[in-house]
Symmetry: C2
Subunit: 242 residues, 2 copies
């Protein structure tokens, strides 16, 4: 069975339209390349109870959960507490993180900085080989920061943990509309029920009207479904296949 | 009480990283300008049961719910059925929508096109004054398409329904770090507990280190909180206030 993932973005600044998240699309692309199946993204406010409820549900539902945001030293950084509450454990100061912060801040180190050494009790630290600050993992919940540059560095350091059987994709661009295609798509699905089949109309590109995506973990199943799909299209309907 | 909103994006193509959603950020910005409070965004697959569960929860939790995507003529367009199931009603063909589709497609009209005339039983049509195809609303659930150009046209046609008391915002850019700021931010919140206070570190712009956002629906409360915040900062800490 392919591994499933859930993504939880924590941040009032996204919900209030102040910033556009860059981490979810990045993670979706990377996890797909690795062969994982992202099943849900939830974007929620900096609120401990809301975070706890969302993390608890995702922890049960998916193989792996990623959180992004809410891990700094200020009052609105409450993800650690939310994850701890979701899993029914206390928040504790991790000696290894406290040591790293002491090295980094030296004499300037204060209580606010030390908040960044807090973890849900029982958490592990991973990815420490290549980065100054490792990533906190609590059971299946990977706690990542919201700042995109650091998010990517931290994910890159642990990405091989998530490698799974790849998902193969074919895109077929056609110059006929979805209404005309629909019955044929249903026919293909009847023959290839395990096919992941998507249909995306395009209104602003004059080159094609619909992009049809066919996906499977089994390359020969995909080729057979693709052949059936293309064969059943009207002559000249295909613009290109990629 | 300000009105709350939830946004549900339906689409495998977002979760698999094939396309980057543009509708959630647009809607968050527009609703914030109108004075509404977006509380959650959920991005979920083209799966009737998942859509039904998410819509049912959002319908109960928020004043208004927006869905985006899954409303075309093909097999993966199952949002209408999901909303109907969420609210415990049947899917029916709406005569007015069927008439519009008949006008638009003429002789080419087929069963797949007529799928776009389906609505949850009891739904209303809104925004018909300015657009060829109106928007389907089921109780507090506004069903919008995934294609960004059409999403925006449809939202624009109904935006005045969502106007509420505005939320006022001040941004303070400072050249000190979050760790140094944290205690002062807590102090400001103790005096102004109703203030919405955000703190966002910046690592790639050399001009400032943290953007602090202060927000309130009450302009004089905001000004008083801003004055206290700025007064308590070290000399020269403020880069600019916008």
């Amino acid at each position: 069975m392919p591994k499933t993932a859930g993504i939880i973005l924590v941040g009032n600044e996204i919900l209030s339209g102040k910033i556009e998240d860059a981490n979810a699309i990045y993670l979706c692309r990377e996890l797909r390349r690795l062969g994982m199946d992202v099943r849900k993204i939830a974007i929620i406010p900096d609120d401990v109870d809301v975070i706890a409820a969302e993390v608890a549900a995702a922890h049960r539902a998916w193989d792996v959960v990623f959180t992004s945001g809410g891990v700094g030293p200020t009052h609105d950084d409450v993800t650690i507490e939310g994850v701890a509450r979701a899993l029914g454990v206390a928040v504790v100061r991790h000696p290894q993180l406290a040591g790293l912060l002491r090295q980094y801040y030296g004499e300037r180190l204060n209580e606010a900085h030390l908040k960044m050494a807090e973890v849900p009790e029982g958490a592990e630290l991973v990815g420490a080989e290549s980065l100054r600050f490792p990533t906190i993992v609590m059971r299946n919940v990977y706690i990542l920061p919201g700042v995109p540059e650091i998010f990517r560095q931290k994910f890159d350091a642990i990405r091989e943990r998530f490698r799974d059987e790849p998902i193969h994709l074919k895109n077929v661009f056609v110059r006929i509309g979805e209404g005309t295609l629909a019955a044929h798509l249903n026919e293909v699905l009847r023959h290839y029920p395990a096919l992941l089949l998507g249909s995306y109309p395009e209104f602003s590109n004059p080159e094609y009207r619909v992009k049809v995506t066919l996906e499977s973990r089994d390359p020969s199943y995909l080729e057979a479904a693709l052949a059936m799909f293309v064969k059943g299209l009207p002559v000249d309907a295909v613009v290109k296949i990629t």
